[in-house]
């Protein structure tokens, strides 16, 4: 993470935050608004962070993964489905149902990743096409099962959608969460906390362990890695699977942490934005996390502005329109990809199938 990139991230976040502070300052004190923005930013950046980590494991090993979106969507659905099954059919209480849901979501991500690995590593299908297959299959399967199980007349739940048991309760980090006002930031739900921990775990694994060294070798120069006895195919499979499980956890965010319901297409491009965060962070976990925070801040702007709708001055009326404010993350993504923030260097063998 170079300083210039860090500066840009800080600048964008400061601009987005001050916009909300300036609009809402007559109603709430700036400290309260900033804390609320920070808490929202960290929370909504969760799926982006996990998606970006998925991308890092895959691409550091030399496999491009644009199927993250589909992996998250599939995981969101099956995790949610599992929690409902546990709750309504086996009468588990909230926590065990939701925990089973999270586990199923992670496994679903892994299963989709296995398909991606098989297609792109074993069958050497073009990796972009393989990722697209994952995305289309995930949309089809979740849409089909969602309607088949919940809305058909002869469906499992007989046409009435059973309410999901609920979402993961938030965890107050002791001491930190007791700080007045600022404490809110440390009152987060489990998947968010897990994502933060995983950022640093991934950093350690990638840069300070033998596993990480081998992964990077396989992604930079697979033939050299093969020559010194590293099993290229096995390393790629393992990393894509780890990545898929992380994307699965990111998918669990949508239906088991954020809201207790599923909508078709609910991931809404987060998997692709996560890829942009990964690129902006130059394929490093901490950089990708900071980049994910920028997108989180753009989304937090949209969410927090809703509290101050009537305070928006008439010359900034466009900020009242959710469709206009909602453009921010997508335009940010495109700006980042143009390279105005400096060149990024992908792993040398990224996207190229290994032929022995």
């Amino acid at each position: 993470m170079d300083w210039r990139r860090f500066g840009i991230i800080a600048l964008v976040i400061i601009i987005l935050f001050s916009a909300v502070v300036l609009i809402g300052k007559s109603q709430n004190s700036p400290i309260v608004i900033i804390t609320s923005m920070l808490a929202t930013t960290i929370a909504v950046a969760t799926p982006l962070t996990l998606g970006a980590l998925c991308g890092i494991y895959c691409e550091r090993a030399g496999v491009v993964n644009i199927g993250i979106e589909g992996m998250m969507l599939g995981a969101a659905f099956f995790g949610w489905l599992a929690s409902i099954y546990m709750n309504t059919l086996f009468h588990f209480s909230l926590m065990p149902s939701v925990i089973v849901g999270v586990i199923v979501a992670v496994l679903t991500g892994g299963l989709f990743a296995l398909l991606h690995a098989a297609l792109s590593i074993t069958f050497k299908v073009d990796q972009i096409i393989s990722g697209t297959v994952i995305n289309i299959l995930a949309i089809g399967i979740t849409g089909f099962l969602n309607r088949q199980m919940f809305f058909g007349s002869g469906s499992v739940f007989g046409g009435n959608v059973p309410s999901a048991p609920g979402v993961l309760p938030s965890i107050r980090i002791p001491l930190l969460a007791d700080i007045p006002t600022f404490g809110r930031m440390f009152d987060q739900q489990p998947i968010t906390i897990a994502a933060l921990v995983l950022v640093f775990v991934t950093h350690y694994v990638m840069f300070y362990t033998r596993w990480g060294l081998r992964t990077r070798a396989v992604g930079e120069h697979p033939r050299a890695a093969d020559t010194v006895g590293i099993n290229v195919i096995r390393m790629r499979y393992a990393n894509v699977l780890i990545g898929g499980c992380l994307a699965g956890l990111g998918g669990a965010y949508f239906t088991l942490q954020s809201v207790p319901s599923f909508q078709p297409l609910m991931t809404n491009g987060r998997g692709f934005i996560a890829l942009a965060a990964m690129i902006f962070g130059n394929w490093s976990p901490i950089g990708a996390w900071l980049a994910a925070l920028v997108f989180g801040a753009a989304q937090a702007l949209q969410i927090n502005l809703q509290f101050f709708r009537e305070l928006i001055p008439p010359q900034l009326a466009f900020l009242q329109n959710a469709y206009v404010v909602g453009l921010a993350p997508y335009i940010l993504t495109m700006l980042i990809l143009t390279g105005i923030v400096g060149k990024t260097i992908p792993p040398a063998a990224d996207g190229i199938p290994y032929e022995k």
């Binding site: 096409i129 697209t132 089809g140 491009g269 692709f272 469709y323 997508y330 495109m334 990809l337 990224d350």
Partner: protein, 379 residues
């Protein structure tokens, strides 16, 4: 994946060779479709349905009557345009996932020219000017929306896959904004996000009473032939194909690679925009939010199934249209949700992309050349 053989290259005397080449090129896609339908049948059985009834309903709904045939053609029209759009980009080595957004903007532009232009010019336009003007506006809007990610790719290296997807969301947001705000149908009875109806002079009247079949389908077939001619028989087409096959070689051969990339994407976007414009001028007579959901990904599957050849794209588009159209009747008869079609289409794409699996199952010999799109992110 194999390059499509070029059936039209055959000399007129060798009809047999043409048929042989065409069949050869279609073998793997056909087997992929067959396999996907078999797996789809297994899924239908697993969720408690009867696959034979389901597929009978599907077939009847797609081809069983004159009305069904007409509806299949109506569905096929945007699929042919959008499939050609993706195929042209593929030929230029570019992956256009943005057909959805380009199509939406084409529809918005055509609708605007259709309902607002006579008022702005304070005069009525004759149909032979107004209809082409509306379609042209849609093509232009799509071309611009496609050229932007093309230019970003050519001049900054920003990968078109992410950029076209981002532009889909941007187009969706802007369209939602326009159709809920400035362009919303002011009719007091209107409750949905849609534009006013376009002027009668901008409406492409359907040829048959009582059927929704429209000239857009014929136009799509004509455009498919034009695209075949453009890509395989002209210098521009040669430059597009060369750039797609090997940008470095193209550069050494004196081709302006950057310009060709922008051109391929603009051409691709133009075709997608045309799909939207035709839906407005020939079918719906207005643009309504949410009508284009899913065309983007479907068109990728169509292009890949059709092996990026216009003839293949037309056949694949008709197949997909038949499935979409027949699905309603299938759902009515068997209660299997329409969404099973998306699963089957995903499976078709899977088996076309991983033709190794299909070749292994059916013991079809492979010829080693595959399409290359991924070379990292280009940085």
């Amino acid at each position: 994946m194999r390059q499509p053989t070029e059936p039209f290259e055959a000399s007129p005397s060798s009809l047999r060779r043409f048929l042989h080449a065409a069949l050869d090129a279609m073998l793997v896609p056909l087997l992929a479709v067959l396999t996907a339908i078999l797996v789809g049948g297994i899924i239908i059985t697993l969720v408690g349905g009867n696959p034979f009834n389901a597929y009978r309903g599907l077939f009847g709904g797609a081809f069983g009557s004159l009305k069904a045939l007409s509806e299949t053609a109506v569905w096929a029209t945007p699929y042919i345009f959008a499939g050609l759009a993706v195929a042209v980009a593929f030929k230029g080595g570019l992956f256009n996932i943005g057909a959805e957004g380009q199509l939406a903007f084409g529809a918005v532009a055509a609708a605007w020219v259709g309902y607002a232009l006579p008022g702005l010019l304070t005069t009525d336009l004759p149909a032979f000017i107004h209809v082409p003007l509306a379609i042209g506006a849609g093509m232009l809007a799509g071309a611009i929306w496609g050229a932007i990610p093309g230019a970003l790719k050519a001049y900054t290296g920003g990968h078109e896959v992410i950029n076209t997807i981002m532009m889909n969301y941007i187009a969706l947001n802007i369209t939602s904004f326009l159709l809920n705000g400035p362009m919303r149908d002011p009719d007091p009875l209107n409750l949905s996000a849609r534009t006013p109806e376009i002027a009668a002079s901008a409406q492409f009247q359907p040829p048959f009473e009582g059927l929704r079949f429209h000239w857009g389908f014929v136009l799509a077939l004509v455009v498919a032939v034009i695209i075949w001619w453009l890509v395989w028989k002209t210098t521009i087409g040669f430059e597009i194909r060369t750039t797609g096959a090997n940008p470095d070689a193209a550069k050494y051969a004196g081709i302006n690679v950057k310009r060709t990339i922008v051109l391929s994407m603009a051409l691709s976007g133009m075709l997608a925009g045309m799909a939207g414009a035709i839906e407005v001028t020939a079918l719906n007579y207005r643009h309504e939010l949410g009508f284009s959901v899913g065309y983007g990904f479907d068109s990728i599957a169509i292009a890949l199934l059709g092996k990026n050849h216009p003839l293949g794209v037309v056949l694949a588009a008709i197949l997909f249209a038949a499935m979409r159209n027949g699905a309603t009747r299938m759902q009515f008869l068997t209660q299997i949700p329409i969404d099973i079609i998306s699963v089957i289409q995903g499976l078709i794409l899977l088996f076309v992309a991983a033709d190794v699996i299909v070749r292994y199952i059916y013991r079809v010999r492979a010829r080693e050349d595959r399409v290359v799109l991924t070379r990292g992110w280009g940085g």
